[in-house]
């Protein structure tokens, strides 16, 4: 963190990610505490995952609070804390759904081709699955490829 009169925590500062007074509550600005969203990376084979938020007077303390709140049992190799007002998010309930699915997207998915199995049968063969390849290369239950094969 920088020093020299430039408090990154004020509405003017804070790493430059303040959007029109949103995010940090008025009261918390007065009190000098802010909300930090917490992301945990379980292993280096995983991405950081959002787990919740903490209130803290600084990013450093937010990291400590995050460890105490979210890693008392769970393992982690890395933690991110992000000032809430630095997060840009889609709305939950708005005109025009952000996540609208106008038509069936089965054609994008592995499960969208169920006839392959039946067709292979004619050649006395069966469908090749990614899991099988990963298993051959790395053995069963390989952590690094859990997401790739699911």
């Amino acid at each position: 963190m920088g020093s020299g009169g430039n408090d990154p925590f004020t509405p003017e500062g804070f790493g430059g990610c303040v959007k029109g007074g949103e995010g940090m509550s008025e009261g918390n600005v007065q009190e000098g505490f802010g909300v930090f969203e917490v992301f945990v990376q379980k292993t280096q084979a995983d991405f950081h995952t959002h787990v919740g938020s903490v209130v803290a007077p600084s990013p450093d303390v937010a990291l400590m609070n995050a460890r105490e709140n979210f890693l008392r049992r769970d393992l982690g190799v890395n933690l991110w804390v992000v000032p809430r007002q630095c997060v840009t998010a889609t709305p939950y309930d708005s005109e025009g759904d952000w996540f609208a699915r106008e038509f069936d997207r089965k054609y994008r998915e592995a499960g969208g081709y169920p006839e392959n199995g039946r067709l292979w049968k004619m050649y006395k063969e069966k469908v090749l699955q990614l899991e099988e390849i990963v298993e051959d290369l790395h053995g069963k239950g390989d952590k690094n490829n859990e997401s790739a094969s699911s």
Binding site: M1, S3, E26, G27, E31, G52, S58, R72, D93
Partner: protein
């Protein structure tokens, strides 16, 4: 959309099983009911750590000490997670963590009756983990389907940790139940001490106006009595299997109605304990909370000041 249309849309979303989020529009009554519920829940977690904390220095073995310390830490953690949810709800009222925490010291928020009571023996540490947490788990598990997303998510984490609290409590009471006559008597005395408090914990029989509103808004999905009945079904057979006697001669299960009948304790006595903080340990524990909060004020201030100067942690 005008107010009425917004309200209709809001109810539609809840009826459709959709979750409400902190940034969504919500009716004032919804916000206030949720805030009151979660504020009390969060503060009760913190006050609830105090009876057990008394047993940290006196735990019989090192393993027991570590375990009960971990549980006390969990309860404090639950308090923090829940206050985080409450703060976001309280934001339009200009209220912060500091206010929500100070409220209990000034009698502006209540905490659950069970945490006003004494825990004089090691058996109480066990019975708290077994039955008080047991009752709390039934409550919290029922809330997992709450319409408010942030509460539901936090409850998921809390319930996962409660599964340890269940085993922890059972481990203590099973050791006592299989112990000497003196240990079994200690356990029976503790059960006698806690039974009525446990019944009161689930709240009144009747569905109050605000309870009905919470059900209509999908904040809660079950009534007090439904949850108390579940508590009986899960715990009465286990309590009896240990050879313990439940201090209610009228407690019985009706096979046809599939319901337990039970004796109503002196409700007014318990109501006073919660409302006026007049339980045997209310004032002592509130004083401890006040002491901790006020004596640490300088630390909170120092952290803000040191932030202005640079990094707190190297």
């Amino acid at each position: 959309m005008n107010r009425e249309e917004k309200e209709t849309r809001f109810i539609e979303r809840i009826k459709a099983g959709m979750k409400i989020e902190a940034t969504d529009w919500m009716p004032d009554t919804y916000r206030k009911l949720l805030l009151k519920l979660i504020h009390m829940h969060g503060i009760s977690e913190i006050m609830g750590a105090l009876p057990e904390k008394e047993w940290v220095p006196k735990a019989p073995t090192l393993k027991r000490k570590l375990a009960i310390m971990a549980k006390v830490q969990d309860e404090m953690g639950h308090g923090q997670l829940l206050l985080r949810v409450a703060e976001d709800l309280a934001e339009p009222f200009g209220r912060t963590r500091e206010d929500l925490v100070a409220d209990v010291i000034h009698g502006r928020v209540k905490f659950h009756n069970v945490f006003h009571m004494e825990a004089p023996t090691w058996a109480d540490a066990g019975v708290i983990g077994w039955l008080v947490d047991g009752a709390a788990i039934i409550n919290q598990a029922a809330l997992l389907h709450t319409s408010y997303g942030p509460y539901a998510r936090v409850l998921k984490r809390i319930c996962a940790e409660e599964s340890f609290h269940m085993q922890h409590g059972e481990s203590i009471i099973l050791a006592l139940a299989g112990g000497t006559d003196a240990q079994r008597k200690m356990l029976q005395d503790s059960l006698n001490r806690w039974w009525e408090s446990l019944l009161f914990f689930f709240g009144p029989m009747e569905v109050t106006e605000s309870a009905q509103q919470m059900i209509d808004y999908g904040i809660r999905t079950k009534t007090n009595e439904e949850l108390r009945q579940q508590f009986f079904s899960k715990y009465v057979p286990r309590i009896r299997s240990l050879g313990l006697t439940i201090p209610d001669p009228n407690l019985s299960y009706n096979e046809t109605t599939k319901r337990w009948s039970w004796t109503l304790p002196d409700w007014e006595k318990f109501r006073k304990i919660v409302r006026d903080n007049q339980g045997p340990k209310s004032q002592e524990r509130l004083n401890l909370r006040r002491f901790a909060h006020e004596e640490q004020a300088w630390v909170r201030e120092a952290m803000i000041r040191s932030r202005l100067k640079g990094s707190v942690v190297v």
